[in-house]
Amino acid sequence: MKKFVSAMLAMAVSAALIAGCGGGDKKADKGSGGGNTVKVGVFLPLTGDNAAGGELELRGIKLANKLHPEVNGKKIELVVADNKSDKAEAANVAARLIEKDKVKVIVGTYGSSLAMAAGNIVRDAKVPAIGTSCTNPQVTKGNDYYFRACFIDPFQGTVMANYAYKKGARKAAIVQEVSNDYSVGLSKFFKEAFEKLAGAGSVVETANYQTGDKDFTAQLTNLKAKNPDVVFAPGNFTESALLIKQARQLGIKAPFLGGDTWETQEFINVGGKEVEGICFSSAFDREKAATPEAKKFMEAYVKEYNGQQPGGLTAMAYDAYLIAYNALKVAGTEDSVKIRDAIAKTKDLETTTGMTTLNKDGDPIKNAVIKTVKDGKFTYLDTVTPDDLKAK
């Protein structure tokens, strides 16, 4: 998923460059490291493969810092560190933030492998970290000091299963990209959740394909014979778009559901009119502000970045800062262990993507947005709340 998100972001960033970046990119003041500041480490890939994603997230953190600059009478100082999209470098940088810069809490990073590289370091040093968009379950699992602001991969599968069931689907088929952990993870949790709702055997077909495949006609012909009400097909956007196109050509009329990787312009470009009406889950929707904080965030972003619209990654980074900010406020101390405990207790915190509560793993429980493609554009369709998932 990382690759495709970054491809999408590369586009967004180049658009940003063309639009002309306004200033505002100055480093946080270095001189003011006295007793009146609290240091927050910003741990992001600002160079290397994931730089596009890191850059967008840095914007979210800086914006959040601008809107919430002080806590308990002290100024929050951001210490920005570049993990260079490199695992070895990520470990070094995390150690430096803790030992040299003496940050109390770390916000970041984009990329699960980078977060995992820093996992042991933050745990051993007992300095909490809040991931921005590292979605792999392993980041927080078994690590009391790593939290995150984004969904984990499996969550989306559960959300889509519930959504499909709610809309009346009783027979589902899955088409998964077997070589992609993201797709397999989503599919597994979709199947579990759907069979729990609609009964064993309600997932009538599970078909596989490989990353890079172009022809899905054989799998789809088999699938058509099973006549499912809905098809869950998370995966890379190019393959997914071709898959849906071929499904429609073969006369499969069932709706297609997927994950957040579909939210890129290329998905619509390649899929054309055939992807109209598909549904997928996403964390952030800019058309419909989930909370007053979301409204504040969007307005500030548009102002700061010359009329550009914020995306999901920026929102997620903004939320990660808010979680840290709230914990600093609640803990009322600069003791990292106490801050960690305050983060773990985060409950119903108002963030840009709804009210955030962290579960025992340190993963957020919050609303998911269901989006569709209408007239060649991504459009808001529905919201699935954590209560919706519990109802069954």
Binding site: A7, M11, V178, S179, E205, A207, N208, Y209, Q210, G212, D213, K214, D215, T217, A218, Q219, T221, N222, K224, A225, F237, T238, A241, L242, K245, Q249, L250, G251, E266, N269, V270, G272
Partner: protein, 306 residues
């Protein structure tokens, strides 16, 4: 047994649909495989850049229609000419200087040409997938008794057969074809006999690349997401198709293409659990052929090599 269940569950329409899918995929492989086999037949060298020539042809057609708004039929003609030229240019710059060098050097040069084309496309057109334009007349679906057939699927086998007949005519019944056959037998002697082997080789590359362009256009209509690495997998599979059929033998390449295309589809149809391993099918066939009939299916029966 899974296979019996799969057969029991399969309706006539479902099976017909699988056959249609397989034949259209197989014809595409066949067209591209001919290019490999022709070059090998003459130069005894595997043109690893062939798959990337297919990719470039897709982009030529894409830009002709979307950026320059040339009508699709003219674009297709233009694409075939441009791709033939590209093939000739690659031959001149990457292979001709190595004409008298060891065969391995040319092979490595071919791999270099392949990487060059991929990265060039990545640089020029970006890695983001582009949508090959829909040609209403060819992209539309025709339902026939429960089987959905894309119009292009009727054209692909027909075009493949026409190309094959034309090519066999050129090779067997024209003076140029005779020269090609002579070069393929022994190019040193052919050179001594006054045949301009550089020209013959250029023509071979032009023909092979033109066929690649025909394959590319149909590939684009059938699988419309085009990326700089689009040619890699089809390139490998078509190379395997050429080897399976007996490399150097044009009819063998077509046969190999159909075997791979149909095999891939039917394996997924009857063994749905293996659908993630369909690419492996081509390689398993390759291994079996190399074990039991290294010359390929038609490699021995015909002596002509072009």
């Amino acid at each position: 047994m899974e296979i019996f269940q799969a057969i029991a569950n399969m309706t006539a329409a479902g099976f017909a649909q699988h056959l249609v899918n397989g034949i259209s995929l197989g014809s595409l492989y066949a067209l591209i495989a001919i290019g490999y086999t022709m070059v090998y037949g003459i130069l005894l060298m595997i043109n690893f850049a062939h798959g990337d020539i297919v990719m470039m042809a897709c982009y030529f057609a894409f830009f002709g229609i979307t950026a320059f708004h040339i009508p699709w039929y003219l674009t297709f003609v233009g694409t075939i000419i441009a791709t033939a030229l590209l093939g000739v240019i690659i031959e001149r710059t990457a292979y001709r200087p190595l004409r008298d060098a060891p065969k391995n050097s040319v092979l490595i040069s071919a791999i270099g040409a392949s990487f060059l084309l991929e990265n060039l496309a990545n640089y020029l057109f970006s890695g983001r997938p582009m949508h090959f334009p829909d040609i209403p007349f060819l992209s539309s679906m025709i339902p026939i008794g429960g089987v959905q057939i894309q119009a292009i699927c009727f054209f692909i086998p027909v075009v493949t057969v026409i190309c094959l007949v034309l090519l066999l005519h050129i090779v067997n019944h024209t003076k140029t074809g005779m020269a090609m056959r002579a070069v393929s037998k022994d190019y040193e002697i052919a050179r001594v006999m006054g045949i301009n082997i550089d020209n013959v080789i250029s023509i071979t590359f032009a023909l092979g690349s033109a066929l690649a362009a025909v394959g590319a256009i149909m590939w684009g209509i059938r699988y419309p997401g085009i990326t700089p690495y689009l040619g890699v997998m089809p390139g490998l599979k078509c190379f395997i198709a050429a080897v399976v059929g007996g490399i150097g033998n044009i009819k063998g390449a077509v046969l190999g293409g159909f075997i791979l295309g149909l095999g891939e589809i039917l394996i997924v149809a009857f063994f749905p659990a293996f659908s993630g391993y369909r690419d492996a099918f081509a390689f398993i066939v390759l291994i079996l052929i190399l074990f039991y009939k290294p010359t390929g299916l038609l490699g021995e029966t015909t002596t002509e090599k072009v």
